[in-house]
Amino acid sequence: MQTTLYSGFGVWDPVIWTIAGAVILLLVYLFWRSGVSTYRKGSEQERPYLSGNAEPEKNAVHIGGGNLYWGFTEGLKGYYSRLVPVHTGDLNDYMLWYFGVLVAVCALVVIFQ
């Protein structure tokens, strides 16, 4: 069964990639096996060591989704402060955009005909 995909410009063969991935996984597994052999589950070793402090609540250490990419959105504040308010949720605005695009596309088609 042929698996090579010719994209007109390059070649892409997923089977080779899969084999490579399998090899890498095998290597990772081997490294993992050769770890510390005295580690045991369910013993004292499992508890995190936080400079001798008590472990905090589970909820406290969980990072919520809203906190991710805070820096990204903060960095692109100028862009987002323009883009987000456009999504007003107002049905009239939706229709306005539709008719705007309608007229714009018509103008483009007529001009570049």
Binding site: H62, Y80, Y94, V105
Partner: protein, 518 residues
């Protein structure tokens, strides 16, 4: 000539019509009817696809004594009946829709089992499928409009299926309103074409069309309203509203119906107008819409907190890929050399992306539905630690997320690489933008993965179990197909995609299949 063609529409319609009556008999009988009808429809669809791939384009005339006779002898070479014209592209869309329907019906058996009014739910589900099948197979403009309306109304009613403190109703209302407007302007366009050529058949109109001002305005109206139905920027505003408030299984079908609208854009562009219109202008308009969709969609998705809303913005972004891929095909339609060089590959990428997108985006929405089904919330700030209890769901999520981000060896990569490399020849900047968007997609799904499945097991979700088996089967089917398509992309491209792309380009073939070689 095939007897399966009307069954594609008739079987789900009869199932939908019988559903309220059967619903009075009991839950088990109703569910079995749903499964039987779905299996029958999918079987008919698969047989049809097989026949199209083997024998070429199928013509079916409704109401004629001999359905394969498209044009009566005494009509002077004009098709007078409603024709279903199923070429390779239509067959491809039928296949996509059938797969999604199979998965969604299985999934719904469990996910909606707590709700009342399920007979209506299944009836509307089948009606939506009728709409999609009709839209992708019909060769008649007004018939397309009717199926569009069926699909829109059923979709809107289903989007409001769970009231959800009014949020779902709001989403359904926006969808219904916008679909109606799009349908009305499509009807205006149909009227303009009818007034000039006195026909509703796409192939016949394509054989006689010339570019008057009326045809031009009709083209603009059709493309714009269908682009709004497909949810491209800057008419995408309804997409996150409706997708996020609809039940997850319905969102998976809404995606397929937006795909059907996308198909219709290119059916209009390639088969109805073809080189009659100014292909470069139209192509660039579609490409610009695609670029805007890609970029704005993904950048709106990044800061979202609602998991379904985030995925909805991603679907806007993914639609951009298809618009770009197929739009490049439109833009180079008149130039045979450029078409052979890269246009065909770009179109193949765009078409391949349709089925890939439907698969992984459907799977993602089904997963989101599974999480909401168990946890009752969709806020990413509140979710977390589900990887401990929902292992299968997490596995499926990893597959789907990697596929949507275009990570090898999943199917998203296969279609995206086709788009990148061919579009790079057309215009390098577009390709670069597409890659950047792909990276941002990955970033945003890392966020989703982290906040849903990673982290310590939270106390409020201690009771959460794995979802029931039918839901898992539905999701697993899609995941298996994603891996299959990712591992053997060339098989799919050769078998399905390339005939579809060629069918789009070959306008004269489309016309002659109906008009009998005129």
């Amino acid at each position: 000539m095939s007897q399966y063609v009307p069954l594609l529409v008739a079987l789900p319609l009869i199932a939908a019509f019988a559903m309220p009556l059967v619903g009075m008999l009991g839950k088990t009988i109703r569910n079995s009817l749903a499964i039987i009808a779905m299996a029958g429809t999918v079987t008919a669809a698969l047989l049809l696809v097989y026949e199209v791939l083997v024998n070429g384009t199928i013509i079916y005339a409704f109401g004629a004594f001999d359905p394969s006779l498209a044009i009566p002898f005494d009509s002077g070479g004009v098709p007078i009946r409603i024709l279903f014209v199923i070429d390779a592209m239509s067959a491809f869309m039928v296949l996509t829709a059938a797969i999604m329907m199979f998965a969604v019906v299985l999934y719904s058996l469990s996910s909606e089992s707590e709700q009342t009014g399920q007979d209506g739910y299944y009836a509307l589900l089948f009606l939506m499928m009728v709409g999609i099948f009709g839209m992708v197979t019909t060769g008649d403009l007004f018939n397309f409009f009717v199926f569009l309306e069926i699909n829109s109304l059923a979709g809107a009613a289903l989007a409001a299926y769970r009231i959800n403190k009014g949020l779902s109703v709001e989403g359904g209302l926006k969808y219904a309103f916008i679909s109606t407007i799009a349908g009305l302007f499509f009807l205006f366009a149909i009227g303009m074409l009818y007034g000039q050529y006195n026909s509703l058949n796409i192939a016949y109109i394509a054989s006689v069309i010339d570019l008057t001002g009326l045809s031009l305005v009709a083209l603009v109206l059709m493309i714009t309203s269908l682009a709004m139905k497909a949810g491209s920027v800057p008419m995408h505003f309804w997409t996150p509203d409706t997708y996020s408030s609809a039940p997850s299984s319905i969102t998976a079908i809404l995606i397929v119906s937006s795909m059907a609208s996308l198909y219709a854009i290119f059916r209009v562009a390639f088969s109805l107008y073809g080189v009659t219109m100014n292909v470069v202008t139209i192509g660039w308009i579609i490409i610009i819409l695609g670029i805007l969709s890609m970029f704005i969609g993904v950048s709106m998705a990044l800061p979202q907190k609602d998991v379904k809303r985030l995925m909805a913005y991603h679907s806007v972004s993914q639609i951009g890929y298809m618009l770009v891929g197929l739009g490049v095909g439109v833009a180079v339609l008149g130039d045979t050399q450029m078409m052979n060089e890269f246009g065909l590959v770009a179109m193949e990428g765009g078409i391949f992306h349709i089925i890939n997108y439907a698969l992984y985006k459907g799977l993602l929405f089904l997963i989101a539905g599974a999480v909401i089904y168990r946890c009752g919330t969709r806020n990413l700030n509140e979710l977390g630690g589900l990887g401990h209890s929902m292992k299968w769901t997490m596995g499926f999520f990893i597959i789907a997320a990697l596929a949507i981000a275009g990570i090898p060896p999943f199917n998203g990569f296969a279609s995206k690489i086709l788009i990148y490399e061919s579009v790079f020849i057309f215009n390098p900047y577009i390709s670069v933008i597409a890659m950047v968007v792909s990276i941002m997609t990955l970033a945003s799904f890392v966020k989703v993965f982290h906040s849903m499945f990673m982290g310590p097991k939270l106390p409020q979700y201690a009771e959460v179990k794995e979802v029931p088996l039918p839901m898992l089967i539905g999701m697993g089917l899609l995941a298996a197909l994603i891996i299959l398509f990712g591992l053997f992309p060339d098989l799919v491209v050769n078998l399905l995609i390339e005939p579809a792309a060629l069918a789009f380009i070959d306008q004269s073939g489309y016309i002659s299949s109906v008009m009998g070689g005129i």
